[in-house]
C-alpha cells in the first residue's frame, strides 16, 4: 500500500479536532471525553496509530463507553444531545488512531460533520463558528489532497504546494463569501432551536456581591482583567476612560470586622425606582457577563430607575423581574450566567433631595459605631478635623489626610481582631475597602452621617461602549449632606481606584469581548429588523462626514504607522505572488499543451510505449521515417522550449500547432484506411 501523505493526515486530524472543539466550546461535554479526545489527537498528530494493532480492543472500549453514556442518559444525568456528541467524539478519536486507509479517512470526516452538527445543537457562540470554519477549511484541504494523492502515480512526489496555494485562495474566498451571505440574510436564531451558551469565556464568576464586606479578604481581584460588564451610555460621554462610580449596593453597619446592612425595604417588581428622576437622566444599557457571577444590578451614581431586565439563560433569553434589597441593592430574581438591563442615573451634580425618603431609623444607623472601637480613632478624627462641622469639608480634610499619610497596598494584613486600628495606626497601608471604611468610621465618630458603597470604578472605551473589569471593583464612601442627599467621596488614592492588571492582557481581553459583543449583535441575535436597518443605512447616505474626518485626524500616529506597515507588507506579499504567477502559469500552460497533444495522439492510436515521452516518441518516429514525425518535430521542439527552455508559447501558437498535428493525424488515418483496403484486396482474391 502506498504510504499516505503526512500533511493530509495532519489536516484531517486537525479538522476532526476543530469539529470536536465546536462541541467542546459549549462546555457541556464530560471532562473525560475531552481528555480522551485530546490525548488521541496528540497521538494522531505525532503519527502514533495505536488502534491499528488493537482494533478489537478499541471496539470493546467504545462499546463500554456507549453503555456508560447510555446509563447516564437513562438515569437522566445527561442530555441526549450531549451524550450523542460525546460518543461521536469518541468514535472520531478511535478512527483517527486506526490505520489511515481511505475508509478511516471518510469515517473521520463523517464523524467530524456529526460533531459540528452536535456543536450547533449545543451552542451558537463565536468560538463555535470559528471551530466550524476551521473544520470546513481543514477537512476540505485534506480531502482535496487525498484526491490529488490518489491521482499521482506511485513514487512521484505529490505537488502539495501547487495544490494548496490555489486551494487556500479559493477557500478564503468561499469563507468570506459565506460570511457575507450570513450577514446579508437573516437566519434562524440558535436560541430557538437549542440550548444556548452564555457570552464570554465560560461561566466562572470572579466578582460579585456578597451580603457583607469583610476587611482582610483576598486582594487578587484587583488584578483580574476579566470583563464583567459592558455598557452603552446615552448621551455618550465620548471619553477614553470613564471616571465614574458604578454602584452596586451600600452598607450602613460596621462591627469592627465587616460591613452589613440592617435596614432596608424589600420589593419585587419589573422596574425599581430608587430616587425621583430629573430631566437630565443618563441612560445606560448594561450587559453583565458571566465573569460577574452575581445577581446584583449596578448603575452609575446615582441610580434613579432600573428595569427592562433580561436573563440570558442556556435555554434562551427570558424577561426577569428585579427585587429591591437593603442598602439600595437591586437583584435579578432569576439566576443566569448573563443579564442585560437598562438603567437611568442622575448626573453627578444633579440636585435631588433624597433625605425625605430616609427614615429616622435609617438615619440613625448611619451614625452607628462598632461596639469596641479603638478610642484612638475618634481622637484622630477630632485632631484632623480641628472643629470642622460641615460634612463635605470635613470629609475632604479626612481624605487628604488619608491620602497623604497612608499607602495603598494589595497585600493583606492577615486575620486581625481590629483591622481598622491596624490600618490606621500600625500598618498605615491598605486597599480601597480600608480607606473607605476608615473614612466612613472617622466621619461617624464626629457625628457626620456616612455609609460604605461598593461597586466598580472606571470603564474602558471599547467599540462605542465601556467595559468594566473584575479588577475595577471598588469601595468608597457616601457622605450624607442634609438638603442634598448622599455625596460620593473617595478616600482611595486616585491612581489605585481602577484595575491593576497587566495592560496587554486587559487589551486582548477587551478586544475579544468587543468582537464577541459584536458577534452576538450581528450574528447570534441577527434578525429581520437588523437587516432592515442595514438596508436603510445603505440606502441613506451617511451624513456624519465632518465627524468622521475629525476622528480620523485624531488617529494616534503609532497605530497609523503599524497599520500602514501591515498593509504594505500584505501588498508586498501579494506583489511577490503575482510576480511569480506568470512563470508558473507558463509552465502549466506547456504541460496543459502536452496533455492536449497526448489526448490527440491517443485518439489517433499512434503506437506509443507506456513510458515513452513525447520527446522519445518524436525521436523514434523521426528515426523510423514515420510520416507523422514531420508534424511532431516542430511541435515537440516548441513544447520542450516552453517547458524547459523558458520560452513560452505565443498566443494562439498552441492552437496552431495542434491544428497542424490534427491535420497530419487525419492524413495518417486516411492513409491507414487506404492501406488495409489494398492489403485486403489481394488476400480476398487469393482466398
Amino acid at each position: 500500500m502506498k504510504r499516505p501523505l503526512r500533511l493530509r493526515l495532519v489536516l484531517r486530524d486537525l479538522g476532526a479536532g476543530a469539529a470536536f472543539g465546536a462541541m467542546a466550546v459549549s462546555g457541556q461535554l464530560p471532562l473525560w471525553v475531552l481528555g480522551v479526545f485530546l490525548l488521541s489527537l496528540v497521538l494522531a498528530l505525532s503519527d502514533v496509530r495505536i488502534v491499528a494493532r488493537h482494533a478489537r480492543l478499541s471496539a470493546v472500549l467504545l462499546l463500554i463507553a456507549a453503555v456508560l453514556l447510555g446509563l447516564r442518559l437513562t438515569s437522566g444525568a445527561m442530555n441526549a444531545v450531549v451524550a450523542a456528541c460525546a460518543f461521536a467524539g469518541l468514535i472520531s478519536a478511535q478512527r483517527m488512531l486506526s490505520t489511515p486507509d481511505s475508509s478511516a479517512d471518510g469515517q473521520t470526516h463523517l464523524t467530524g460533520l456529526l460533531m459540528v452538527a452536535g456543536g450547533a445543537a449545543l451552542s451558537g457562540d463565536m468560538t463555535y463558528a470559528l471551530c466550524l470554519i476551521a473544520f470546513g477549511v481543514l477537512a476540505s484541504l485534506s480531502l482535496a489532497l487525498g484526491v490529488v494523492e490518489a491521482a499521482v502515480p506511485d513514487g512521484e512526489p505529490v505537488p502539495v504546494r501547487s495544490v494548496l496555494l490555489p486551494l487556500s485562495g479559493g477557500l478564503s474566498f468561499a469563507v468570506a463569501g459565506a460570511m457575507a451571505f450570513f450577514i446579508l440574510f437573516p437566519r434562524l436564531n440558535w436560541a430557538m432551536v437549542g440550548p444556548r451558551s452564555a457570552p464570554g469565556f465560560g461561566a466562572v464568576s470572579s466578582a460579585g456581591f456578597s451580603d457583607t464586606v469583610r476587611l482582610g479578604g483576598a486582594g487578587t481581584i484587583k488584578s483580574n482583567p476579566r470583563v464583567v460588564l459592558r455598557a452603552t451610555l446615552t448621551p455618550d460621554p465620548g471619553r477614553e476612560e470613564l471616571d465614574a462610580y458604578w454602584v452596586g449596593r451600600t452598607y450602613d453597619t460596621f462591627d469592627g470586622q465587616e460591613w452589613t446592612n440592617v435596614v432596608g425595604a424589600q420589593r419585587t417588581e419589573r422596574q425599581i425606582t430608587l430616587r425621583p428622576a430629573s430631566d437630565t437622566l443618563l441612560h445606560q444599557r448594561v450587559e453583565l457577563l458571566p465573569a460577574y457571577g452575581g445577581r446584583t444590578l449596578v448603575a452609575l451614581e446615582s441610580p434613579s430607575r432600573l428595569g427592562n431586565a433580561l436573563a440570558l439563560t442556556p435555554t434562551g433569553t427570558r424577561a426577569s423581574t428585579v427585587q429591591l434589597h437593603g442598602g439600595g441593592e437591586v437583584r435579578f430574581t432569576i439566576t443566569a450566567p448573563a443579564y442585560t438591563y437598562e438603567a437611568y442615573s442622575l448626573p453627578p451634580n444633579a440636585k435631588a433631595d433624597a433625605s425625605s425618603g430616609l427614615r429616622a431609623e435609617e438615619r440613625d444607623q448611619l451614625l452607628a459605631l462598632p461596639e469596641h472601637l479603638d478610642p484612638r480613632v475618634a481622637q484622630l478624627a477630632a485632631s484632623v478635623l480641628d472643629g470642622e462641622k460641615e460634612p463635605l469639608a470635613a470629609a475632604r480634610k479626612l481624605v487628604s489626610h488619608l491620602q497623604r499619610d497612608y499607602a495603598y497596598t494589595l497585600e493583606q494584613g492577615g486575620s486581625l481582631e481590629d483591622p481598622l486600628a491596624d490600618f490606621l495606626f500600625a500598618r498605615k497601608a491598605g486597599h480601597c475597602e480600608h480607606f473607605a471604611t476608615a473614612l466612613t468610621v472617622l466621619l461617624r465618630t464626629q457625628g457626620i452621617s456616612a455609609r460604605l458603597a461598593t461597586g466598580f470604578f472606571g470603564g474602558a472605551r471599547m467599540d462605542g461602549g465601556y467595559l468594566v473589569r473584575a479588577g475595577d471593583a471598588h469601595a468608597w464612601t457616601h457622605v450624607f449632606v442634609p438638603g442634598r442627599g448622599f455625596v460620593t467621596v473617595d478616600a482611595t488614592p486616585p491612581s489605585h481606584r481602577t484595575s491593576q492588571g497587566f495592560e496587554l492582557i486587559e487589551k486582548l481581553l477587551a478586544l475579544y469581548e468587543a468582537v464577541e459583543g459584536r458577534w452576538r449583535q450581528s450574528v447570534v441575535d441577527y434578525s429581520f429588523r437588523d437587516q432592515f436597518e442595514l438596508a436603510s443605512k445603505l440606502v441613506r447616505p451617511p451624513r456624519r462626514t465632518a465627524e468622521g474626518a475629525a476622528t480620523s485626524s485624531r488617529l494616534p500616529p503609532m497605530r497609523a504607522w503599524v497599520t500602514a506597515a501591515v498593509v504594505a507588507f500584505l501588498v508586498w506579499r501579494l506583489g511577490r505572488i503575482v510576480a511569480r504567477w506568470p512563470r508558473r502559469a507558463l509552465r502549466l500552460e506547456a504541460t496543459r499543451f502536452l496533455d492536449r497533444v497526448d489526448a490527440l495522439l491517443a485518439r489517433a492510436h499512434v503506437p506509443r510505449r507506456e513510458d515513452e515521452s513525447l520527446e522519445d516518441l518524436t525521436t523514434r518516429l523521426a528515426r523510423d521515417g514515420h510520416p507523422l514525425a514531420l508534424a511532431l518535430t516542430p511541435l515537440t521542439r516548441r513544447y520542450l522550449e516552453a517547458r524547459f527552455g523558458g520560452r513560452a508559447l505565443r498566443e494562439g501558437e498552441a492552437e496552431h500547432l495542434l491544428r497542424t498535428l490534427r491535420r497530419a493525424l487525419d492524413a495518417e488515418a486516411a492513409r491507414h484506411a487506404h492501406k488495409p483496403d489494398e492489403q485486403a484486396g489481394p488476400t480476398a482474391r487469393a482466398s
Binding site: 502515480p153 509552465r587 502536452l594 520527446e615 525521436t619 520542450l640 524547459f644 527552455g645
Partner: protein, 306 residues
Amino acid sequence: MERLAAQLGRAVQGKPTEVQRVVTCVVAGGHLLLEDMPGVGKTTLAEALARACALSFARIQFTADLLPADILGAQVFHSQTATFSFRPGPLFRQLVLADELNRAPPRTQSALLEGMAQGQVSLDGETHPLPSPFTVVATQNPVDFSGTYPLPDSQLDRFLVRLSLGHPAPDVEARLLTTRGAASPLASVEAVTGPEELASLRDFAAEVKLDASVAEYVVRLAQATREHGDLERGASTRAVLALGSAARAQALWEGRDFVTPGDVRTMLVPCWAHRVLLRSAVQGVSARDEAAHLVEELSRKVAAPR
C-alpha cells in the same frame, strides 16, 4: 561538434551513436573510459579525436611493471649545472590515451587520479599544472582478467562516460576490407577544431540552461539508485553533477540551449552504469550489462517531469 563527429566517423566507421557520445563527453570536459575487447578501434578513436581537435597526444601502454614516474615524469639531474630539473612525463599532453589501464598496478592507476581530478600533478612537493584541455581516454579489456587490477571505485567515478564500441556491423566490416587497404584511417582525419574552440564549446555547454524540474528529476534518479534493492551503492553526488554536465553537452549536441529530460535519459547509462555497484557477485561483461540494464530500468520507472 558535428564536424568533429564527422571526422571521427571517418576513422571509426559504422558507430555514429558511440562517436557522438565521445564528442559529448569531450565537450562536457570529462574523461572517457572505453571498455571493449581488443581490435575494435578504441585506439583509433582516441587518436582520431586528438587529430580532429588538434590536441597534443600521448599514448601510454599500461603494463604490470609501469611505475608512476613513467607517466608523470621525474626529476633529472643535470651534471653540468649540478641541479635537478623536472622532465615531464607522457601525461603532460592534452589528450592522453591510457591503454589497458587495468593492467597497471593500483599505484600507477592512482597516479592518474590527481591528474584527472585536479588537472595537475604533484611530484616531490612541487605542483605541475597539466595542459588545458586535459582529457584522458582510458581503455580496458573486460574479457581477459588474468593479471589485471580492477579499477578502484574512486577512479571509476572520475570517468564521466563509459562506452563500449562493440563489433562493427557486417556490412561496415566488409566495406572496411574493400576500401581501407593499407592506408591508415587516421590519415583521412583532418583537424577541424583547436584547443581554443574546444574550450569555448565547453563554456557554451556549461551555460546550457537546466530547468529546476529537470534538476529535480536527476536527483530523483539518483535517489532511486540509492534506494534500489539490487544495488550495493547508488549514484554519488559527483555522479549527479556528471550527469548534469553530460546532459548539458548532449543538449548542445542537439542544438538546444536547455536540457530536456530526454537528454538526461540519453546520457544516463553511459554516465552512471559504471558508477553503481551491484549487490550480486557477477563480474566482467555480465556485471556491466546488468548495471546498464538496472539503470535503464530506473530511467523508465522514475517519472520524468512534463
